[in-house]
Symmetry: C2
Subunit: 338 residues, 2 copies
């Protein structure tokens, strides 16, 4: 049996090129006691993954050239010498960009069994995975959403943003989403429980914010940063909460600790007695069961909708990652591997 994987060949300059990776084939070795062999079904894409490719990005140890690209996946256990994992189990964890994974279930892979809930296993990477949990803890815990809050979400049609409309509505709050195409805006309103949307590419964001938030913004769930954040700040209410979930507009090739946009309206935080806060989803690991239980129940009840954007084949991974930076993905970006 042969495993195929993508290893880092070059540090990215601007958009990722296919040639930033090499496709490697290798024999799959025999399992040691305690290990299991997993066949990858889906791999997940998230903007932060570009940083794994960059030296000195500041979020996690960067990859060396030649290392398998990091990333989460979901797959099926096809062989096991670990009593905790049986053939046929669906599991998710830190697979890397490869078609087969050998894991002993230890912390480095953070292997979780995916409950048999009747949903596609892909949801374990999206709405019922770290992506959805980011929406959940970001909105409820960091953002401290309150009944009646007027919520704004940037990159609303992205993986994290696409759950926020529902999660806000469930708590009797109203979310308005920013997106870059009319098609995505339409989906946000018709399927993803957004109260309204703004196409920030074709509409005047500042004017639309005044129109749609006559009483100000109570909570801004920000996946974009930079100029969008700057335009939003003068519209925040007293005691507003700004959840710094991502800054995709300003991510640079130098990593997380540099960017190229200077914020004019930072003083609004102090002037309005507001709070701006970052977070890291793995800090909430001990509460994942709570999030899973609530969110899967809400999916069953039809209150929480989700949308997945699925490309095909290991070779499409680099361009699938680019889709996030080009605003092409609609909902959670995934690649189907098998």
């Amino acid at each position: 049996m042969i495993n195929r994987k993508l290893v880092l060949a070059a540090r990215p300059q601007g958009l990722i090129k296919d040639s930033d990776f090499s496709l490697k084939e290798e024999d799959i070795r025999d399992l040691k006691s305690g290990e299991c062999l997993i066949k990858t079904k889906f791999l997940s894409l998230a903007p932060v993954m570009k940083y794994y490719m960059i030296d000195g990005a500041g979020i996690e140890a960067p990859l060396h050239i030649g290392e398998t690209m990091r990333g989460r996946g979901v797959g099926e256990v096809i062989k096991s010498s670990n009593p905790l994992y049986n053939e046929g189990d669906i599991v998710q964890g830190k697979f890397g960009w490869q078609e087969y994974v050998i894991s002993d279930g230890a912390a480095d892979k953070m292997l979780y069994k995916v409950p048999n809930n009747g949903l596609s296993p892909s949801t374990a990477l999206g709405v019922l995975g770290m992506t959805g949990y980011t929406s959940y803890f970001g909105l409820y815990d960091v953002g401290k959403l309150k009944t009646g809050d007027n919520v704004l979400v940037s990159a609303a049609a992205g993986g994290v943003g696409s759950s926020i409309g529902s999660l806000a509505k469930i708590k009797s709050a109203k979310a308005i989403g920013l997106s870059s195409t009319d098609e995505k805006c339409q989906l946000l309103k018709t399927k993803l429980n957004y109260h309204d949307t703004i196409n920030y590419k074709t509409e005047n964001l500042d004017e639309k914010l005044s129109e749609l938030f006559p009483d100000g913004i109570d909570l801004f769930f920000d996946n974009v940063g930079g100029e969008v954040l700057d335009t939003v700040l003068p519209h925040i209410n007293r005691y507003a909460r700004i959840v710094c979930c991502g800054r995709i507009s300003t991510y640079s090739d130098k990593g997380l600790k540099t960017q190229n946009y200077s914020l004019k309206n930072w003083h609004m935080i102090g002037a309005t007695r507001s709070r701006m806060e970052g977070f890291f989803i793995y800090d909430y690991e001990d509460r994942i069961t709570e999030a899973y239980t609530n969110m899967s129940q809400w999916i069953k009840e039809g209150k929480l909708s989700y949308h997945e954007d699925i490309q095909e084949g290991l070779e499409s991974m680099p361009q699938a990652l680019n889709r996030l930076f080009e605003g092409k993905n609609v909902g959670k970006q995934l690649v189907k591997i098998s």
Copy 2:
């Protein structure tokens, strides 16, 4: 009997001019039932007061031309037809810039009796007044100070900053203060319980921060904003807290909602999972007794030190307010009226 008071004559342009106010004299009218007459002893200065003079400043209804300038004071009840206030009582409240005040103790003046604690009544405007309570709630509640925290304070020798060294030390945390003169730096170390200081006018702030915070800054109590904040941000730790107490470096003549410095390093908030938060001391009014009780006890025990900068006479009020913007005050800026 004659009252003298300063009324707004012109909106300020840059530094305040004496001619922005007119001195008015008026007969003191007879007291109605429930009122008392207070003779002002000290008046308090705080940067925010400049905004009262500016139309559209956004923090409180601006003064009209001809209105008595707002501000807190402490004084002695010299006549009373209110059973709650007796002749000889020391009270503090929203006196305005005048030598005598008539008050019925209602909410508009927020009249508090000053306990007879053996300290100068001036402390009721400083360390045991809204200024000191701002330090207390800003550091402990907004900043959530923890044992062992490495704390940085800007405008450390100012009214609010001058208590933070002690308040940090009391909780086994270490505060380093920024100030603009060696004289003030010296005072911070020898009297005001600061562990160390940086003269940001003569020393390289970025380099000194690297030197004095080898493990990063856990809590930044910021009274300055702008370029100082920007220089500090790359030095913050994970889960840092930035308390936005003031932005004196960037206050403009247009009011609280404009400023002229664009922040390059705003992204550090998200990148380090940190929190930046503003607050308003009057939101903590129901806990003033707690703050008073603790802080007066700490003063008795010699753990909390304070320093007052006292000018003389009602006419010196405009220039005393300027002193805050010129960094001339050492400790809490007050004016002795009688």
